[in-house]
């Protein structure tokens, strides 16, 4: 599946330049450069502790980069004057642990940010929410509480919650890692549909099949640096670097 790579001359969706991030003395990211074009699906793989989740969390500033620049649609978000809240409203983020709001129904989960951040009316928010719930196949569960849903359903609600904000791009942080194996497929199917619609996506994942089938670019990280990147099929079938080969031989 190939994606349109955006109109020529358009700024890249996400442009990460020489990104460093340290937690205390522990340098987790040691100079990362990543480029995500509009409509592209970039998958990031690597062993645990390689810094891939930290990279993703830096892109919507859940982690503050130690140094380097991140540009989202040409605007430098690492600039101290950047409006972080406005930026985050345009970038959807889906977490490993779903992070639905447990004290609200599914419908409220989808509406609250639309009303409080996007300033939509209640009825408009509900309409958008129902449309997105239908999209992830959960139209009949709008009055349930998150605790009453399976992990896979919760994760699809989380995706619908982000979609309801009409984001320009989505970040996925190991979104299937906490799911029972038989529930993974439903979530991946929703993500595939999104990719097919041309959503710009940056996906940290262990699902090599998804990366191969849906990704436009695969990035392999280890030890806080990008070891290898390129066409997913190419990297997965013919890894050039020995660290990539070692990692893939363990997971494939």
């Amino acid at each position: 599946m190939t994606m349109p790579t955006g109109i020529d001359g358009n700024a890249a969706a996400i442009d990460v330049q020489d990104l460093h991030k340290s937690f205390g003395d522990n340098e987790v990211l040691k100079g990362i450069d990543v480029h995500v074009d509009n409509g592209q699906v970039v998958c990031v793989i690597g062993p645990s502790g390689s810094g891939k989740s930290t990279l993703l969390r830096c892109v919507n500033l859940l982690e503050q980069p130690t140094s380097g620049r991140i540009l989202v649609e040409g605007a430098e978000i690492t600039d101290p004057d950047a409006d972080v809240d406005k930026l985050r409203a345009r970038i959807g983020m889906v977490f490993q642990q779903f992070n639905l709001f447990p004290h609200m129904t599914v419908l409220r989960n989808l509406c609250i940010a639309q009303e409080k951040v996007r300033k939509r009316s209640r009825s408009e928010a509900v309409e958008v929410a129902r449309r997105n719930l239908a999209k992830v196949g959960l139209a009949d569960r709008e009055s349930a509480y998150p605790a009453h849903l399976s992990g896979g359903q919760q994760q699809r609600v989380a995706i619908a919650r982000d979609l309801s904000m009409d984001p320009d791009m989505m970040l996925f942080d190991e979104v299937t890692s906490a799911l029972d194996p038989e529930l993974v497929g439903d979530v991946l199917a929703v993500m595939k549909d999104l990719a097919a619609e041309g959503m710009t996506m940056m996906v940290v994942t262990h699902e090599m099949g998804f990366a191969r089938e849906v990704g436009n670019k695969l990035v392999f990280m280890d030890g806080g640096v990008i070891v290898e990147e390129g066409d997913p099929r190419e990297v997965l079938s013919h890894p050039q670097h020995e660290r990539t080969q070692a990692f893939l031989s363990k997971v494939l």
Binding site: N60, L62, D85, K86, R88, A89, R90, I91, G92, M93, F95, Q97, N99, L100, F101, P102, H103, I112, A113, K116, V117, R118, Y145, A147, A158, R161, D162, M165
Partner: protein, 264 residues
């Protein structure tokens, strides 16, 4: 022959029952039942207490407690948020207020407000008279306790909740109001109930203010009744009234917890 563990457990249980029965029987034999009835459950005195003990004393206890608790809750929330603030002086100030009012006996706070305040600020008075003073005193004491409870509750909400709210574009304040604090209050419902019950009893300290009979709350009412009748029956009556407040409260909160549990 040594007993098997199950037999031994059964024997221990029988012994415990036997001890209970012996204690009850001994107490029943030793007690002077005629005197107990005359001094504690004197029917004419009980009848005389009603309905005023309900319409005046119980009502006042409820009002004093509710005002003190609500003020304390608001104060506690503000102090908790100050304790979690990134601004150093806010944290220090909140810590001082909490340590002082948590450490002082409630009676001392009442005396400070009732006697100390008029001496220190002769040109001012606490608004709303006795009700204002009791609200302030109970609120300060309760707020200091609740601040630490609320802080613990806020910190018990998983970090991912704040992150999810922020990643949807909510400001820190908005995320606190809509996402974190409502969940924190669910977590701390049991300790908050405890605090409300403690305040119900601490509201009796208002006697220090010197009250007109219409302002009597339960304990003051009971003491006056005890003195004028030279009989302990009024104390039993007001004790019953306290339970009339606290027991339904406990049941209500248990129901709310069960409901919140279903949504979790």
């Amino acid at each position: 022959m040594p007993l098997s563990p199950r037999k031994r457990a059964q024997l221990v249980r029988y012994i415990q029952y036997a001890v209970l029965v012996v204690v009850v029987v001994v107490v029943a034999l030793v007690a002077d039942w005629g005197e107990i009835q005359r001094a504690f459950f004197n029917w004419p005195i009980i009848k005389e207490q009603f309905p005023d003990v309900l319409t005046i004393a119980l009502k006042n206890t409820l009002i004093y407690t509710a005002c003190g608790f609500l003020f304390g809750l608001a104060l506690g929330l503000v102090l908790a948020l100050m304790r979690l603030s990134s601004v150093g002086p806010y944290r220090w100030l909140a810590t001082c207020v909490i340590e002082v009012f948590r450490g002082l006996p409630a009676l001392v706070v009442f005396i400070a407000l009732a006697v100390g305040f008029p001496l220190a600020f002769p040109d001012y008075e606490i608004p709303f008279g006795n009700l204002g003073t009791v609200t302030l005193a109970l609120g300060l004491v309760g707020g200091a306790y609740m601040a630490e409870t609320i802080r613990a509750g806020i910190q018990a909400v998983p970090k991912g909740q704040m992150e999810a709210a922020r990643s949807l574009g909510m400001s820190h304040t908005r995320a606190m109001i809509s996402v974190v604090v409502p969940q924190a209050f669910r977590i701390i419902l049991p300790p908050l109930t405890n605090e409300l019950i403690l305040l119900t009893k601490d509201s009796s300290l208002i006697y220090i203010l010197g009250l007109a009979i219409d302002d009597y709350e339960l304990t003051k009412w009971g003491r006056e009744g005890m003195n004028s009748n030279a009989n302990l029956t009024p104390i039993i009556v007001i004790g019953f009234c306290y339970l009339l407040i606290t027991v339904p409260l406990s049941i209500l909160v248990r129901r709310m917890e069960a409901k919140a549990g279903r949504a979790r």
